[in-house]
């Protein structure tokens, strides 16, 4: 809020752009009734403007914990997390979360009221502007017809679109998505991935996306952070900008999938270079 920071942007001078999210040596621990669990150990990564940054790893690698820490719901025991050069101390509307669970929508509010709620609660926007912003973003996710119904009347995919619209309307510095499509059926998930990409094409927001699906990571992400199993440590950071649903059949796509699969499940083998390995 304090830092409007529309600096540099795409104009791209000589100066290297500064990251929106800067995670340095983050070690995260949480307590269960019987144990102190180390979820991630000394994780470093940077997310830049308009990145679709994916945290990928097997279950139990601490990727969701990492996202919660960025959201401000827990503090790292070691290391720092900075958003636009400010250390993350508490949850805030500059980092909007989208969860996997449909319960994140308020059942007592209509779709329109749900989208308007964070804007009203945080007073981030002018009163008169809020309704129009909500309507505009609901139009973007193709829910204009359903603004006055309650969440329980919508399908899973539509609920998820409301959650995404609600977060996007706030224009956060970074959008945090915790396995948002994991609870959807395969056909709906595919459709939602396409819609997320087309939304990104329109507004170029910055998103940090957690998934355990290699395919989803490659399709949705522009850059993928691969985490090792328990406790999560950095295993690799890969580029996946060129892949979408259209080129799932391309051999490179399959190669990247295999490469990530190897990174995740084979014990610390040297990482093969895809360019040199490309098979005809």
């Amino acid at each position: 809020m304090a830092n409007p920071g529309i600096n540099a942007g795409v104009g791209g001078g000589a100066k290297a752009p500064s990251p929106i999210l800067d995670v340095r040596g983050a070690t995260l621990q949480y307590k269960t009734p019987k144990h102190l669990v180390t979820a991630t150990y000394k994780v470093d990564f940077d997310v830049y403007q308009s990145d679709r940054f994916v945290l990928l790893g097997p279950s139990g690698c601490g990727k969701s914990t990492l996202l919660k820490a960025v959201g401000g719901f827990m503090q790292p025991v070691e290391g720092t997390i900075r958003v636009r050069d400010r250390v993350v101390k508490a949850p805030g509307p500059d980092r909007m979360m989208v969860f996997q669970e449909f319960e994140q929508l308020m059942p007592w509010k209509t779709i329109l009221q749900n989208v308007m709620f964070p804007m009203q609660a945080t007073k981030r926007f002018d009163r008169g502007e809020i309704r129009d912003r909500a309507l505009a973003v609901l139009d973007k996710v193709k829910l204009s017809k359903f603004i006055d119904v309650y969440p329980h009347m919508l399908s899973g995919g539509m609920k998820m679109r409301v959650a995404i619209a609600r977060a996007m309307a706030m224009e956060p510095d970074i959008l945090l998505m915790d396995e948002p499509f994991a609870a959807l059926d395969a056909l709906t998930r595919r459709k939602m991935q396409e819609e997320l990409l087309s939304l990104w094409d329109q507004t170029r927001f910055t998103v940090l996306f957690v998934t355990h699906s290699i395919e989803e990571a490659i399709i949705v992400g522009s850059r993928i952070l691969v985490l090792s199993p328990h406790p999560g440590r950095v295993r690799a950071e890969l580029n996946a900008e060129r892949f979408t649903h259209e080129n799932v059949d391309m051999p490179e796509f399959g190669l990247l999938m295999k490469r990530i699969h190897g990174l995740l499940f084979e014990e610390s083998e040297p990482v093969p270079e895809p360019e040199t390995e490309a098979v005809a």
Binding site: F73, A90, G92, F99, E101, Q104, M106, H152
Partner: protein, 296 residues
Amino acid sequence: MNALAGDVTRAPVERKEFEVVPIDATGIGSIEKPLSLAERLADNDLLRKLAILVVLAVVWEAYARFLGNPLLFPTFSETIQTFWRELTSGVLLDRTGVSMQVLLIGYSLGLVLSAVFTTLAVSTRIGTDLLTTLTAMFNPLPAIALLPLALIWFGLGIPSLVFVIVHSVLWAVSLNTLSGFRSVPEVLRMTGRNYNLSGVRFVMKILMPAAFPAILAGLKIGWAFAWRTLIAAELVFGVSSRSGGLGWYIFESRAELETAQVFAGLLAVIVIGLLVESVIFRTIEARTLQRWGMQR
């Protein structure tokens, strides 16, 4: 061991593949058909409940006539006549008014206190401990058992009644509200915190509506407890010597051996209970929980 092996030569039956254009669906006729009158009547909650009441009334009338002792058990028709006479003469309305006034004061005071306690309980750990301990101590304690104490402290009068009503409302409502707050999904809490909501705003905007099913159940229980306690307390003493509440009316009628009036008084208690449940709470439910899909 071989039971699982089966016949290894077995293969799926081979069938040809085919593709067709979906058949014409206009032959179904109208897709929506209105329900018949009987079906709609059977679907009406109020009507079904009325039918139950009618059956109960018939059973009552039949048994009372069979018994033939109006001093012990007046007939339904006699009770209704007495009820109507007392109602139109204004006695019953007067008494109900007195009871209602005390009831509403006690009930609202109980709710306010319960809101304070539960807000404290969800905001601080010591508040939780305080509320759970107090509830565990006082919830099993019948309000009427406190009446002697209340009489010593506040004397014969409205404050004593209000005291016992608050006692019977407070713990039941707090217990329900707190367990409702605790069962609010973690994701919804995180969503609220994400929007910088905290303290009283967090309770008002997230916890209260999300826990509303449990809160409403608590309100209903609290209402019933308050009613019970009030009538029971009034059986012990009237508010002032001249005009007591419904409980006092029942007590007086019994003393005068006007059994039909005792029944009329009881009937008034029942009718008010039914009205509050089926009009007030029902409307709140339909406007909130059912519309929000939190209850079917």
